[in-house]
Amino acid sequence: MNQNAFETGHGAAWQAFDARLKSLRRKGEEREQAAGDWPRQYRQVTHDLALAQSRAYSPELVDRLNLLALRGHQRFYGSRGNLLAAVIEFIGGGFPALVRRESLVVWIAAALLFIPMFGMIALLQHFPEFVHYLLTPDQLRSYEGMYNPANQALGPSHSAESQTMMWGYYIKHNVGIDFQCFATGLFFGIGSVFYLLFNGMQIGAVAGYLTQQGYIQTFWGFVAGHSAWELIGAAISGAAGLKLGWALVSPGQLTRGAALKESAKVAVRLLYGAAGMTLCAAFIEAFWSSIGSTPFALKIGVGLTFWALFIAYFLFAGRGRNAD
């Protein structure tokens, strides 16, 4: 069959398909799409494209059909998910199930964060002058100022205005660190390892120093409430980075490129959870932790309750479901 006859015979169908694609762009026609003969139309176009290619019809016609089929392909195989439902499912069980499945990287990341942190706290109780290796005198003065027991409010905020300000700051700064920790994992995991160790030591240095200075009630009272959210979030974002890096170090049966792609799908889901936790931590830190009048025991109690709830959440929530 020559090209002219081919085009005359099928032109109307192509135009109908083109019009259909345009009308489908508008929302709310998904159901109609499923009911109609749309899939059959799409298959016909792909068939015509294959014929046009194999019969060496003019490149212009092949390009036109290719574009038509491509648009159909994107429409046909594009994901149509309900974002809100996916988020609820993720929080309600998908995330803890994923953390359990990826527990190896999560444990490694947690060790890289918590061992230097607690090590530093312990070290500074005996050798307080060691803190000068990690923090400058200016930083020390500013931390001492923030947690001085003479303050009305704890931490950096002192009024409702500055609470909102610090909220914005915590989100921009802390979630940004999560993202960096994740992204630099692409360098064979080295960036994530660095950020985990570095953050662990920094947090440990501040905590250890202030504890040794005797600012126990103010400092620990301040950090207790959001500690579980923030530290677990930081560890999991590091785990996401390690997951990326490990795919390049040890790709297994796949090529490095394919392994990276597979791991990135998992890692980005870990990161969603981590960033969500850090986001909540910022809220708690700005509006709960900073209240100076709350009794110390209550603050510690709330903090420990969050830790207990998270441990239970990661152990038990979403059992028996697929982590994907």
């Binding site: 020559n2 090209q3 002219n4 799409y42 298959r43 792909t46 068939h47 494209l49 294959a50 290619q53 194999s54 060496a56 019809y57 003019s58 490149p59 212009e60 016609l61 390009d63 036109r64 290719n66 574009l67 089929a69 491509l70 392909h73 994107q74 195989y77 594009g78 994901s79 974002l83 205005e161 500055s162 909102t164 300000m165 610090m166 909220w167 914005g168 700051y169 989100i171 921009k172 979630v175 940004g176 993202f179 960096q180 994740f182 992204a183 630099t184 692409l186 360098f187 960036g191 990326l244 490129g257 990276l260 792609k261 990135a264 799908k265 890692a267 980005v268 889901r269 990161l271 700005a286």
Partner: protein
């Protein structure tokens, strides 16, 4: 073959072609986005300043969103293209040709900071030049490609010359080359067309106007 087409097999048993975009148009698009983001940032600062100190917190959150999620939002809700990409007819798709997914878009855009390292997007550029599909590191991990958003080009009618039977049967690739030439013929001067057509060798022999021979063969195959 050395070209920038990527062939994507589909479940229908056909191959679709994607036209990949290289570093230069992508850099233009990125620079455009940078300008747009800068303009939004300036506008935001003005608005935030109206609210004084209480505006700082929400302002910081908006900066955070602008910094990390400007490309993600556009790629997901605006057919895979930020305004900059749209201006240069580019779009992001998964490397199987389907629209970019949320996870892939987040991955490729968060990894942008790695592409920036060690300075001025050096890793991203190196990665684009060395990977088969012009992928920067973020694209490699996310499994995405940046392609041209094709438009349907109007077909130019073949020049009206008498059809001509070729001296010997042509292969598929040869027929395609002949048709390609015929369709682009209108863009060439007569001399240049003859010059190009003369490369067809035995097909045109010693004919004085080889372009007419090729056009005739194209007509023979097409009509």
């Amino acid at each position: 073959m050395l070209d920038t087409l990527r062939r994507v097999p589909t479940p229908e048993g056909i191959e679709l072609s994607l036209r990949l975009a290289g570093p230069v148009p992508r850099a233009y698009a990125f620079a455009t986005d940078l300008l747009i983001r800068g303009a939004i940032l300036l506008a935001l600062i003005q608005v935030v300043a109206i609210f004084g100190r209480s505006g700082t917190g929400p302002g910081l959150i908006l900066f955070f969103l602008l910094e990390w999620f400007y490309p993600v939002a556009f790629e997901i809700w605006w057919n895979g293209a930020t305004p900059g990409k749209r201006a240069f007819s580019l779009m992001v798709v998964n490397d199987n040709g389907t629209p970019v997914t949320v996870g892939a878009s987040v991955t490729r855009n968060l990894l942008r900071i790695v592409d920036f390292l060690p300075m001025l997007w050096a890793f991203g550029l190196i990665s684009m030049l060395f990977s088969r599909d012009f992928k920067r590191l973020g694209d490699l991990a996310a499994g995405t490609v940046v392609v041209y958003r094709d438009r349907v080009r109007m077909r130019g009618a073949l020049p009206d010359v008498p059809p001509l039977m070729p001296a010997f049967p042509l292969s598929l690739a040869e027929r395609r080359a002949v048709l390609n030439f015929a369709e682009r013929h209108a863009l060439l001067t007569e001399e240049r067309a003859d010059e190009v057509a003369s490369h067809a060798g035995p097909l045109v022999g010693n004919n004085r106007v080889p372009a007419r021979v090729i056009l005739g063969i194209a007509r023979h195959h097409n009509k």
